[in-house]
Subunit: 124 residues, 2 copies
DNA sequence: TCTAAAAGTAGTAATCATTACTACTTTTTA
DNA sequence: TAAAAAGTAGTAATGATTACTACTTTTAGA
């Protein structure tokens, strides 16, 4: 089990206080405002352990960076291939089970990315 | 528009002929049986252009490799955190739209990964 | 409280999947 | 055909992420 550390607490707080999907480097830049000499390796290690323990999710959209999400509730990520935005959209949680055949698989977390064009980019 | 090349055709054939989700290195190993001196860079370049053109999908499950999928139909990837298996499961396509609020977003492709335990690993 | 073991950290070096580059080959178009 | 455009093999470079080490913090038991 993981011990307490103010670094991990600060990283988790940062992810809970924002609604976007920052990369490790972006989390590092923000947490440095609170713990100036925190190291980038510490950010990576804690993000990995938080994903491992299921406290946060990691999201990949194919831009070469891993993104992190403090919102564990089931939702889709709409990734605009034009502007790169990652937009959250809720799903009616209880209904998803009716249309998916899990066949004995025990789901814990999920990360769904839908690629396409956002409203703004579609108009341009 | 992309020109024809036997390398890209072989890569696309390979992805269409298998039901798993190979990495670039695994595609390289297979396609080498057909085109022995194909280069790994060519595999990467063509996989990227096939993803770009929407002919295949890339799937990330957090194991450090990008995986590729020749099946573009909407389905979920069940990723077992124990054995690492990636299991496909169908979704009743037309029903998904009723439970997701796309709010003007135009979806093109989607890659959904559900993390958890597969039937076998659950029993052990 | 102490105190030693366990876990975590900062800072730096190393890794390695992926991308970029270059000289050459294949495909396309007219 | 022939020249332009696109693609390739082979190799070098990139850079996000991971590993390593000496030091610090946390934890649990006396």
């Amino acid at each position: 089990m993981a011990n307490y550390s103010k670094q991990r607490e600060a990283i988790l707080n940062e992810l809970h206080s924002r609604c976007d999907h920052p990369t490790a480097a972006q989390v590092y830049e923000s947490v440095r405002q609170v713990i100036p000499n925190i190291s980038l390796g510490t950010v990576y290690r804690n993000l990995a352990s938080l994903v491992e323990s299921g406290e946060i999710l990691s999201v990949t959209v194919g831009d070469g960076y891993e993104h992190y999400d403090g919102d564990k509730s089931f939702h889709l990520h709409l990734h605009c291939k034009c502007c790169g935005a990652i937009i959250d959209t809720k799903v009616q949680d209880e209904k998803i089970k009716n249309i998916v055949d899990f066949d004995g698989f025990t789901p814990e977390n999920s990360v769904c990315v839908v690629y396409g064009l956002c409203k703004n980019c579609k108009l341009q």
